[in-house]
């Protein structure tokens, strides 16, 4: 990838490609598995043997129930951990090849430095919990629709100690070609309660989304932006991808998903160490669908 590549960033305006190290590490891992493809199968086989051994152990050496559960639980951990690491590697590799093909920038590393910028600029989305971080960030441009975008996985923790729980959301940011004067959000019905500041003329739209306007008195402006064709696009998008929130502020549209929507479907390193093009297409299609939204809305933004 060209080191001088620059792409739009929602907080810094420009992101320059400087993440060679993490990508080198990614490629090193994949090349290792390509060279020794049997290693993945071997490790999974060993993990399965460990679970079977643990089960046989507790069956023949009759232990109390808590110890039994503990031994079986511990024996399953390596399998789960390794499965997650392989799945994560698959996802990262798909993004890597997609970014390479389209001349986008990709940073698979965990990043805690830029989080403050996101929290400050978009508190409605990012001001959550503590110990926040970003990973799997992508900066790019969809040449067909001429839309700049950023994508990242945002991790945060709520609670402390035993009551702590870590959440992960996928966020896409798309650059609008003009600024929206009135920040507002469309929350999927039921995700953040059912309060809606305004309703449109579409029963279907109102059943899918709750509109929250940040500043009172700007409701009419928001309704003007949500024209019938924009609503129809949002309805189709909402039904297909079920985003948690679509948030509009200045010249940025943020789309938040409760889960990582780009999980691999066809690529399976256990069978073959190779990225399936269909998984790349899933990502690209999702992005293209998202890019339709700002393209549709632009004619209503002064």
């Amino acid at each position: 990838m060209d080191d001088s590549t620059e792409r739009w960033d929602p907080i810094k305006s420009i992101q320059t490609d400087i993440f060679d190290e993490s990508r080198t590490e990614l490629l090193r891992q994949v090349n290792f598995y390509k060279k020794y493809p049997y290693i993945i199968k071997l490790i999974f086989f060993m993990c399965c043997c460990l679970v079977i051994a643990a089960v046989l152990f507790v069956v023949f050496i009759k232990l109390e129930i808590r110890l039994t559960v503990l031994i079986i639980g511990i024996s399953v951990l390596p399998f789960v951990y390794y499965y997650k690491s392989i799945t994560s590697l698959q996802n990262e590799l798909i993004l890597y090849f997609l970014c390479q093909k389209n001349n986008w920038i990709y940073n698979p590393k965990l990043d805690t430095e830029d989080v403050d910028g996101f929290v400050m600029n978009y508190p409605a989305i990012f001001d959550k919990g503590h110990s926040s971080s970003l990973e799997d960030q992508v900066w790019g441009n969809l040449s067909n629709d001429h839309v700049d975008f950023w994508k990242g996985l945002f991790n945060y923790t709520e609670g402390y100690g035993r009551d702590s729980h870590t959440y992960q959301i996928t966020v896409f940011a798309l650059k609008l070609k003009a600024k929206i004067r009135c920040p507002f959000s469309l929350d999927r019905a039921g995700v953040h309660g059912d309060r809606s500041d305004i309703k449109t003329e579409s029963v279907e739209f109102n059943s899918l989304f709750n509109i929250k306007v940040e500043n009172t008195g700007e409701e009419q402006e928001v309704i003007r932006l949500l024209s019938p064709s924009v609503q129809v696009r949002l309805i189709d998008f909402g039904k297909k991808y079920m985003p948690d929130t679509i948030y509009f502020k200045d010249d940025v549209m943020l789309i938040v998903f409760g889960l990582d929507i780009l999980k691999t479907k066809y690529t399976n390193f256990i069978k073959k160490v190779m990225v399936d093009e269909r998984d790349e297409n899933i990502f690209y299609t999702a992005l293209s669908d998202m890019a339709q939204l700002p393209s549709e809305m632009i004619q209503f933004i002064d």
Binding site: E201, S202, E204, S229, Q231, V232, Q299
Partner: protein, 174 residues
């Protein structure tokens, strides 16, 4: 005495349900009217753009006069139709087809195609067509929801009592 109290409570519950269903039907009907208002706005926008388009094209002597006259007549008819949505739907479909024919014929006139005014009007009309299609979809979805409520039990009794009438769909006859 207990029996009387039970009767009163039952009456209150029935009245409550009655009011909820009536309000729900009214809200549903209101949504249909709002959606129709949106369709109407877009249709009017299209009607307003047509005279400019006809004037722009008239200047090209060899352009088919019959087609321009046809569009003008259908537009006048569309402005006069106020009675039923079915009738309006038929006229607007005719108008849409005539406009598509006009743009198809315009392909044979390079000077016209290059005209800034023509291009601007064509873009605006195309955008308006998209808005009409979307507004139509929203209207029909609201209408379907309203008509279903009218025919369901027990709202159909309330609908009959208060003369709620079913709404017509704004069909695309392609």
């Amino acid at each position: 005495m207990v029996f009387l109290i039970l009767i009163v409570i039952l009456c209150i519950i029935i009245l409550g349900v009655f009011l909820i269903l009536y309000n729900s039907l009214t809200a549903s009907r209101q949504k249909v009217q709002e959606a129709w208002a949106d369709v109407d706005v877009q249709l009017k926008r299209r009607h307003d753009l047509i005279p400019d388009l006809v004037e722009t094209v008239k200047g090209y002597e060899k352009f088919e006069k019959n087609l321009l006259e046809q569009i003008t007549q259908i537009r006048t008819k569309a402005l006069d139709v106020n009675n039923s949505i079915a009738e309006k739907s038929a006229v607007e479909d005719e108008l849409e087809k005539s406009l598509h024919s006009l743009f198809a014929v315009a392909e044979n006139y390079p000077d016209l195609k290059a005209s800034e005014n023509f291009l601007r009007l064509q873009t605006e009309l195309t955008h308006t067509e998209d808005e009409i299609a979307s507004a139509r979809r929203i209207y029909n979805a609201n209408t379907a929801s309203y008509n279903i409520s009218l025919n369901q039990f027990p709202t159909r009794f309330i609908a009959g009592l208060f003369h709620f009438e079913s709404a017509s769909y704004f069909q695309n006859n392609d």
